[in-house]
């Protein structure tokens, strides 16, 4: 079995761009990815596209054909919706399509327009990743759900809002040279701790911002890369996906994420590696506590141990296991359906040493992308590795 290669990547600036339509953003990202790959666009055989809230934000369903058209492609296109893990799920199916030999060149990506509807409507739109009858009707917001998990974590394992603040400080620092990031500004732990509470114990700086943006990547078969002499050194060597009960109250754990554990086990097995091989990673930190849950679910820390990882300096760019060198969802921004592919883009650029934080992972060969939906009722994990051309 051959490992698909990342032939090219492209993205828009992540931030507040309320006037930009989803199609215009995706066109920019998709064309940039095709240009970066340097392939003939006629060779693209399918689009795998992630989007979460297009019906609510743009009154636009059936987005995938629209997005293929926006990039100038006449190919079958399918939209993937798994809440915040939408484009992680799209990557996974793109990988399967290439591995099976059914396609040699595919475009994968995502786009999300969010700020045009305002904060209140965006908060409402994000909340629908939860169970409408039993969670939303009880007033559970997206931050509220992670607040329930954060309190459960503190009660079970210890830790504090000070530990969470250090995660926010780290990810903001990581984003400083990232020209695509929504927040290129340093914060202090005091800033985070003094910020208004959104859903106790989580405050404003524990939360990712509301973001407009699009991402795209050209994935090709190993054979196509060789035949066309493509300059591709990054391969997707492992893929995994996990699921869990939709409503938090129906889960066995509130402070652990079995969907991430299952996705990671499958992805490690698929790539033939273990957690010890991971040099750096991008995890789904929609909230600071989510980074903690991800690191533990990925088997990189024992349950209860990752809460202090940023405070101890282990996951900073100088640490042994840099996490979210792009700035993460927290500082880079979280255009929901585009996020999974954004992680793949960051990792590709870091491995190819064309990312402003590349020097922090010099010599690294193996990285993970962890994308999670809702309160982790969906999770995908991908292993990306530098390979011989």
């Amino acid at each position: 079995m051959s490992d698909p290669r990342v032939a090219g990547v492209g993205l828009t600036h992540f931030g507040k761009h309320p006037e930009r339509t989803g199609r215009a953003m995706f066109a920019e990202a998709g064309l940039a990815a095709l240009d970066d790959a340097g392939i003939d666009p006629d060779d693209v055989e399918a689009l795998f596209y992630g989007n979460f809230m297009g019906e609510l934000a743009e009154h636009q369903g059936h987005q995938a054909p629209l997005m293929a058209e926006a990039v100038g492609l006449d190919v079958p296109a399918t939209r993937y919706e798994s809440a915040c893990a939408s484009s992680g799920a799209a990557i996974r199916d793109a990988v399967f399509r290439l591995r099976s030999g059914e396609a040699d060149v595919v475009l994968v990506g995502g786009s999300e327009r969010m700020t045009n509807i305002g904060t209140a409507a965006a908060t409402d739109a994000l909340s629908i990743a939860a169970d409408d009858l039993y969670e939303i009707r009880a007033g559970m917001t997206f931050p509220g759900a992670y607040a329930l998990m954060a309190r459960a974590y503190f009660e079970e394992y210890g830790g504090s809002t000070e530990d969470l603040a250090e995660i926010a400080v780290k990810n903001h620092e990581h984003a400083l040279p990232n020209e695509y990031a929504q927040m290129q500004q340093a914060i202090t732990a005091e800033d985070a701790l003094d910020a208004p509470t959104i859903a106790d114990p989580l405050g404003l700086y524990d939360s990712c911002p509301i973001t407009d943006g699009a991402t795209a990547a050209v994935l090709v078969s190993e054979e196509y890369a060789a035949d066309h002499d493509l300059d591709t050194s990054v391969a997707v060597t492992g893929t995994g996906q996990g699921g869990d009960k939709m409503a938090l109250h129906d889960r066995q754990y509130f402070a652990r994420t079995p969907a991430t554990e299952d996705a990671a086990d499958e992805a490690y097995d698929d790539a033939g590696i273990g957690p010890d091989s991971v040099d750096f990673l991008e995890v789904h930190d929609c909230f600071t506590i989510a980074e903690v849950l991800a690191l533990e679910g990925l088997g990189l820390y024992e349950p209860g141990e990752a809460i202090g990882a940023a405070s101890r300096g282990e996951t900073t760019r100088e640490g042994d296991l840099p996490v979210n060198l792009s700035g993460g969802l927290k500082a880079k921004g979280h255009p929901v359906g585009a996020t999974g592919v954004a992680q793949l883009i960051s990792i590709t650029k870091l491995l190819e040493e064309r990312h402003p934080r590349a020097e922090d992972v010099e010599g690294a060969t193996t990285a993970l992308a962890h994308n999670a939906g809702g309160t982790v009722a969906s999770a995908t994990v991908h292993v990306l590795q530098e390979v011989e051309q």
Partner: protein, 128 residues
Amino acid sequence: MSDEPRDEGFDDLLDAIADGEGFYVECANGHGSLPPRLACPQCGSQDLSEEPLPDSGEISTYTVVTVPTPQFEEDAPYVTAVVDFGPVSITGQVRGVDPEDVETGQVVGIGVGETVTREERLLVFEPR
């Protein structure tokens, strides 16, 4: 609200709780879940029955929501909690106690209340 179609299972449960006759769905293997169910979400069993919901439970985790969605605009701040009733856990709002005084492990009963903002029904918990 009367013009809206009912949500089968969910509205039946709220009616039952309002009448003091709350129930949950139990499968042949003893797994609890909330309606509507045709299959047990834990094991897939289709041998399901309605069993009386224990009349009190313990708060497993909670949050005080200060930034709500529009449908709870005038309700905020409010306490959302997950309460463990034994065979099932349920999410609802804790009322009748100062948010500052809510704690995990607190014993609460369940009832049906109304939201301030839109006068919509919701599950509420009150200290026992």
